[in-house]
Symmetry: C2
Subunit: 343 residues, 2 copies
């Protein structure tokens, strides 16, 4: 009998730093032998790998809140999988887990930052979406930075994305009027007809954002949850009320800019309106994640939150999924399905 | 004997809405008979009239937090004078008062919003500066919006102006490292040598603001008190730390722009640094003015605060004083001396 071929780990590495929108050739699929866990470690076989906007920043060689991915290194990011071997007493083979395992089929981890999942609660893929980092981002960003009050008007850009679609629904739970901005008529219909947004519009077919917003927000804008930046944000600034909170979650419209983007200067609006623009990263609420997970799970069980996931099959297609997400092709959470039979 | 000529009130009115930097011809000096106070009213003869940056906004026909000055109307604004006749039991002839009396020699007021001054406390002109609206703006803006902590680095733009020069001194009282940005070598010397700023630079003779700031703020910027906006602010944004508070008090660099100014988009900095830009108007702290006045007066008596006033003589020269202030000619508080013998 021939010797058993050792299992292979297929990984997506960074091949080149992108200029502008990433291309598939900026990534490289490599195969390495699967590592075995040492003392205290676990081996995880991935079910789902996440692609998120923040990863674009990690591809640039600039200092930020996290170090950049190095050329030749596996792309980092959240993933969900099953423990296939454990030398860590906190995990057992068969456990579903979520952690920063990166774009690969297998990962060895010491268990730090790894969250055990309950597959009875919800499909484990949700640990990368509504019951994961995007869900917590929406929850803490809207409630802690945005501080919406019942009856107030909330505008969300990138409203059909993983974070934006949850932000709008939480704002509805809190009794707000919610207006979403998204990039297709299908997304707009989903927001209005399925998620319960009060209004939404397609920025790709709308000429005058400010006029449209003015019509949809007759009482102005009290909270703006901004995922995109750029011309959409310029328009919203013109409609803010006294005391408005602008929650700066992302600026995806600029992530692929090859040189610094320019636009109208916005700070004077903040003075006149005694308003605030505040950026945040979900990590700053790390001490309260348990509260966020519990509340999101409760709302999900109560049918107060809906979500959509969109899948691409095969780890080799993670770059395509990522690029598509940056181009706005996804509705809801974009995932890469690596080994669905494990979920 | 000929009848006594009734006293004349010389007033400066708005003659035309300025395009760009105001010109003296945008104002008109008119003479009207002095009105007499009715029941509940007082007549005030002005000693000092204030010129402040916010007045530029009131000259435009746009909706803002206060209605615009109408063509032909007396320019509004704070002033200090003496009560010459009173039919209001709260005021007596001879009282020194401060109120929104406008650019004129005499005003009739019902006493609402009028503050009685104690000439023994400090020269009454300070009621328009360090013990007035600019002082409260510095006090509440820095402490309530900026929230500086000992050892932190504070950058102030427009640092030699009425507000900026106080902001820097309060930050020193609070144990901060203070870096000022101003428009002349004389101003820079004043900030460093007399007011105790740790460092300052002249933006008019500095080519690379970011490099200079980087040198003067080796630990980055924790609080930025912004009076000017524009390219100076762009540079400061590049040096903010995690959690930095940007206090947006004014944007004088743009007040005379004939079309919306453009510049690099800044919001992405706020995300990466979990930072905040917050605009404010001193009025939002109206319920706490007494606290602010008391603290500022105490610091002044203790010699912890210094101030400089710059005078132009004659109500007819208020436009020139105002234009000069917009052009950065003043060090400290710019005032118009209307009747110095009354102070």
């Amino acid at each position: 009998m021939p010797p058993t071929k050792p299992p292979t780990n297929r990984q997506v590495t960074l091949a080149a730093r992108p200029s502008g929108m990433p291309k598939e050739s900026d990534f490289k699929l490599v195969e390495t032998p699967v590592s075995q866990p040492g003392p205290g470690e676990i081996l995880v076989r991935m079910s789902y790998v996440s692609v998120d906007p923040y990863m674009r920043g990690r591809m640039n060689d600039v200092k930020s809140y996290a170090p950049p991915v190095q050329i030749g290194e596996v792309m980092g990011g959240g993933a969900v999988g099953r423990v296939t071997a454990s030398k860590n007493p906190q995990f057992a083979a068969g456990d579903y887990v979520e952690g920063l395992f990166g774009w690969q089929q297998y990962a060895v981890s010491n268990g730090k930052g790894v969250r055990k999942l309950d597959p009875a609660l919800a499909p484990v893929s949700t640990a990368l979406g509504i019951l994961g980092m995007p869900g917590l981002t929406a929850y803490f960003g809207l409630l802690e930075i945005g501080k919406p009050r019942p009856g107030q008007t909330i505008v969300v850009s990138g409203a059909a994305g993983a974070v934006g679609s949850i932000v709008g629904q939480i704002a509805k739970i809190k009794g707000c009027r919610v207006v979403g901005i998204a990039g297709s008529d299908q997304k707009v219909a989903w927001l209005r007809d399925e998620l319960g947004f009060d209004a939404a519009f397609n920025y790709k077919t709308t000429k005058d954002y400010a006029a449209t917003l003015h019509e949809l927000c007759p009482n102005g804008v009290d909270v703006y949850f901004d995922n995109v930046g750029g011309a959409i944000t310029d328009a919203v600034f013109r409609l803010i009320n006294v005391g408005t909170r602008i929650v700066v979650c992302g600026q995806i419209a600029q992530y692929n800019a090859e040189k610094p983007e320019i636009g109208p200067r916005l700070l004077a609006h903040l003075v006149v309106k005694q308003a605030r623009a505040e950026g945040f990263l979900v990590f700053q609420f790390a001490s309260r994640y348990a509260e966020g997970f519990k509340q999101m799970a409760d709302w999900l069980k109560q049918g107060k939150l809906k979500y959509r996931e969109q899948f691409v099959d095969g780890i080799e297609n993670a770059p395509r999924a990522f690029i598509g997400m940056l181009q706005g092709e996804n509705t809801g959470k974009q995932l890469v399905c690596v080994a669905p039979e494990l979920s």
